[in-house]
């Protein structure tokens, strides 16, 4: 068989814990003692010896629901080998946290090291009306995190000037930013002449915000089900 065109798609072997293969697949190098939390059902392939379990008991049920959407689950992956994860063709982002914290919009978390701390924090102010929920997931500690974005993501620096983001396109932001909601609803919206953009979340401070070029944050399991 001529495998010339296929061999170009082979995953490169790297010593790094998490790498992105062809922008849509996450490759995780698993090692014993370094467990991984991933969205249940996101595994597409693995080699070596990898086991999948339900989420650990110390993870609060509500946190789990937030990550994986309604009725979904998180899974704990352990073992030795290479694990490949993907989420319905979304673009994969890999981040390494060095004793830092990242606030994530629930359904966009694909995987993270089990050593990281997942907490739910309430969204303050008007931003809670924005449709992305009353609470947010904060990933804290030292380790690797992987997010998924519908389309090629963009990181915006909030240090220079205030950055406003459509809550439906928001994926993640660094904690410690000043957040404030901004309404652009005018009286004209009441008579059927709205601009379609009513709420934005403004960010200011040292850090960055990640957005996706699609305003669909829903996860894919709901559609199939």
């Amino acid at each position: 068989m001529d495998t010339q065109t296929l061999s170009a798609h082979r995953a490169a072997s790297t010593g790094v814990r998490m790498t992105v293969h062809s922008s849509k697949t996450l490759k995780v190098t698993m090692a014993t003692g370094h467990d991984l939390l991933a969205k249940a059902g996101s595994m597409i392939a693995y080699d070596g010896y990898v086991q999948f379990d339900g989420a650990p008991a110390n993870l609060r049920r509500s946190a789990e629901e937030m990550v994986s959407g309604e009725g979904g689950k998180l899974m704990l992956c352990r073992g030795d080998g290479d694990l490949y994860l993907a989420d319905y063709g979304g673009d994969v982002i890999v981040l390494h946290l060095d004793n830092e914290a990242l606030s994530v919009n629930g359904a966009t978390l694909l995987a993270c090291d089990a050593s990281l701390e997942l907490t739910i924090e309430p969204v303050k102010g008007l931003a809670k009306l924005s449709g992305s929920g009353l609470t947010n997931l904060v990933v804290r500690g030292t380790g690797w995190v992987s997010l998924v974005s519908r389309g090629i993501p963009m990181a915006l620096d909030c240090a220079e000037r205030e950055t406003y983001v459509d809550p439906d396109a928001l994926i993640a932001w660094t904690t410690g930013l000043d957040m404030k909601a901004r309404r652009t609803v005018k009286a004209s919206a009441l008579i059927g002449r709205g601009s379609g953009e009513a709420f934005q979340i403004g960010f200011k401070g040292q850090g960055f915000v990640v957005v996706q070029p699609s305003e669909d944050t829903g996860d894919r399991f709901k559609v199939r089900g």
Partner: protein, 250 residues
């Protein structure tokens, strides 16, 4: 913190419209004199002071829209700053309108307010999925940003070379082209439109110009904002995911 993400920081603007990446448009609203007209709800993020207003449509225009179903709800973006626009991660293309462009309104992301817009009937009475019976015709000098599901194909039409496209996949064409619809049927199955080959209506273009075709024969999910108060205020995306069928465009 280090990440693959920092390859995706904002690019330098080179004019009014710049592609941040194939799926995201960076619009510098300070440049140019006319306002930027964008599809309602397409804003992903912005920096600086930008205002979003609904574009006023007079009664006759609204009547035409209602009768033809060619509905394009626009917002004016003006102010001082940079706006990022995108729609369902579709691929975006900046183009000069030049000598006129005919496009279905569901493939328009943004254009200069200085352009002339009209609704025209395509030479057929048949409503086909992608290029409907009515289309938008843009003229004047300015730029337009189109969106396609996947990477498109631009075909050149010359007097010697006619081009046939699946009518469900056609996105836009030069206004100067003549169009004609035809159904590829054989005698064995004339009564079935899709015949035995599974192909539906074909659009034939002749003249001189260009045709833009997308690698998908589906309409993008448009006009799916939730109704009611929330939808009026541009919030919520409940209907969206159900209609998006789990596919990402790539």
């Amino acid at each position: 913190m280090h990440s693959t993400l920092f390859a995706h920081i904002p690019v330098e603007s080179t004019g009014r419209y710049t592609l941040q990446n194939p799926q995201l448009l960076k619009t510098d609203v300070t440049q140019g004199s006319s306002p930027v007209l964008a599809r309602q709800g397409a804003m992903v993020a912005f920096e600086g002071q930008v205002e979003f207003d609904s574009q006023y449509r007079n009664r006759s225009w609204r009547n035409v829209e209602r009768m033809t179903g060619e509905r394009l709800e626009l917002m004016r973006c003006k102010g001082n700053g940079v706006v990022y626009l995108a729609n369902l991660a579709q691929h975006l293309h900046i183009m000069e309108v030049g000598r006129g462009l005919t496009v279905d309104s569901s493939y328009v992301l943004a254009f200069d307010g200085s352009l002339g817009v009209g609704i025209v009937a395509v030479d057929s009475a048949v409503e086909v999925a992608s290029a409907g019976a009515y289309n938008l015709e843009l003229s004047g000098s300015g730029q337009i940003v189109l969106m396609t599901s996947g990477e498109p194909l631009l075909l050149e039409v010359t007097p010697e070379k006619n081009v046939c496209c699946d009518a469900d996949a056609v996105v836009a064409w030069s206004t100067s082209l003549r169009t004609q619809l035809q159904a590829p049927t054989s005698t064995s199955a004339v009564w079935r439109r899709r015949g035995s080959s599974g192909e539906g209506w074909e659009m034939q273009f002749s003249g001189t110009g260009h045709v833009l075709v997308q690698p998908s024969e589906l309409l993008p999910p448009q006009h799916l904002r939730t109704s009611g108060v929330l939808g009026q205020f541009g919030m919520g995306s409940g209907g969206l995911r159900g209609n998006n069928l789990g596919g990402s465009n790539s």
